[in-house]
């Protein structure tokens, strides 16, 4: 007796192959009686479809996958051990998958959810609103953590559990702080020129804070991350800051939208023979461990890592336990004042 195929089951039940598939996948669109009949036959013949056999393991298992985009960001990997500990404490196995810079996280997440029958998924970093990417196709509980949305699509995320900060507001806080310290020519190292997510939101906050402090927005003070260098790296921050400093002798402060960028800014300032904060003030973003050890220690926006880990696991747990409510949690970050900003006498 050769193994039965899905065709055989369909023939025996006198239904189409897709009906068998829908019955087995618990699709709500199928007639209840038909479904019962199909499942009875499936059971009778001990039929194990390819993908169902694949999934048996995962149906029994307790695995939660963490899908990470942005492996180069220490902020994310500083979160990993905490995610792992918390999930293990909840009794789940934990599997980490890294999506590379060009990967489409949503497609990958969708495939994973289908293929592995995971208990749940945490999507960390990246953006989840590519054209055609449909989060609702992910049929298992999931939560979006620090996930960027394009500025036009941000409201869509209300339909999903998500945990993040308010990028515009936090950026505003930095620039407002610098302006109140007397800085008048504040440069920003922003996302790539085409960026319409985090970089764009933080640039918006920069503009709004300038306006509220009576400062003009000047395009020449905006340094877009370079396309030919990996994003959010020291190398990119270094190159952009170097050009900004060469072309604008009046800059007294630089806000870099990530700490790794800011570490590159430190180097560009040193190479230009300038000192931090005496000549140029610097503010970073994320609050990675390393910023305590830069010289001088870096003023930065510290994201509430622990709260974000815990609340995202909480949301995921509720969702796994059947709670259908969706929450969009937005945390306040904190401007950590350290030694890289100097107060100027107001002109």
């Amino acid at each position: 007796m050769a193994a039965l195929t899905i065709k055989d089951i369909a023939k025996i039940c006198n239904v189409s192959i897709s009906t068998v598939s829908r019955a087995m996948n618990n699709d709500p669109g199928i007639n209840a009686q038909t479904k019962e009949r199909v499942l009875r036959v499936v059971k009778e013949f001990n039929y194990i479809p390819n993908n169902s056999a694949r999934n048996l393991k995962m149906q029994e298992s307790n695995t939660i996958a963490l899908l990470l985009k942005g492996v180069s960001n220490p902020f994310f990997y500083e979160m990993l051990p905490d995610f792992q500990k918390r999930l293990e404490k909840e009794g789940y196995e934990y599997m980490l998958l890294v999506v590379d810079e060009d990967g489409d996280e949503v497609k990958i997440a969708e495939g994973l959810a289908k293929e592995k029958r995971l208990k749940g998924m945490i999507l960390l970093g990246g953006r989840f609103d590519y054209p055609g990417a449909e989060l609702q196709n992910i049929r298992i509980p999931f939560v979006l953590v620090s996930v960027a949305s394009s500025t036009t699509e941000i409201s869509k995320h209300k339909r999903f559990n998500s945990v993040s900060i308010d990028d515009r507001k936090e950026s505003y806080k930095v620039i407002d702080y610098l302006a109140k310290k007397g800085h008048r020519h504040i440069a920003i190292i922003s996302g790539r020129e085409t960026d319409d997510t985090v970089g764009s939101l933080r640039l918006d906050g920069y503009k709004a804070a300038l306006a509220d402090n009576g400062l003009p927005f000047e395009q020449r003070l905006v340094g877009y991350m370079r396309k030919d260098i990996p994003e959010y790296t020291e190398a990119n921050g270094y190159a952009v800051a170097k050009a900004l400093l060469q072309e604008n002798k009046d800059i007294t402060a630089i806000f870099a939208i990530s700490d790794r960028l800011a570490i590159g800014v430190y180097k560009a300032i040193a190479d230009a023979g300038l000192r931090i904060p005496d000549d140029i003030s610097v503010v970073g973003f994320d609050g990675i461990e390393m910023t305590r050890y830069t010289i001088p220690s870096m003023t930065t926006v510290k994201q509430p890592k622990d709260a974000m880990v815990n609340s995202s696991v909480d949301l995921l747990m509720s969702s796994i336990h059947g709670d259908e409510t969706k929450q969009k949690l937005i945390y306040d970050a904190e401007l950590h004042e350290r030694d890289s900003v100097k107060a100027l006498t107001i002109e």
Copy 2:
């Protein structure tokens, strides 16, 4: 017809349950004819044992797991995208699993290999010679990359594919270099006092190079990483360097056995009101990207990341394709001379 159990198969074949199991698991200890008979019945009845059903997915799949210990080391992180790209190019799916500081990698690897029927495994970082941990129990092709062995057990690794550097030799090179630059009081930030792997090997290299350069070994110049602070972090390097500098005013150079430690050393030196390299020279180890951006840029031992990634995947591929030879590849690292070391006039 209810699903058959392993008992039913055993009854039909008139053998014991364990014989069925051994036949299905391709155990070499079973009689070939018995095995054939059992497998014929298994096939005839389309019998899917629990764990075999679980494994169907993986038997068809092409997954290679990368088991990472040392989530806090950027050196490993920097390797991940390269591993991923290379494995995908070879046509494999890639799954990353992180083992936390207290986890036993060998047990986890063994479990994974059994449970998921992976095509192969890359064990990155960590140590694989806990008492009772038996690498040979991992029944799938694997390769050890940058895996530490206790100093007494190192020869065992000859039986496995492994890719690493020679920790003793590379450490020797650093100290020899500093001694030849005229340094006479060279401190080391080594592993924890109980360390018998990488830290211990690098300390051995330190001692040997001192001896060969006619310098006495002085216990007071050895800073063991502190137990109360996470290993290999800036915070640990900072704390240990601070104590070393307070207690030994004659130190002119500090070798930290990782770059993150060395970044902490930079800070301790700055806090002591000293300058690098004018007052104190510093050398790190690993060659992470960040060391190009420290101020001054850091002299460090650069591990040959690309070669290590590629040759470990090569070894794994050969092994997957049936090559039984085991190779222990040891790469040369390179001392990158940058701006953190000053040549002293020899006293």
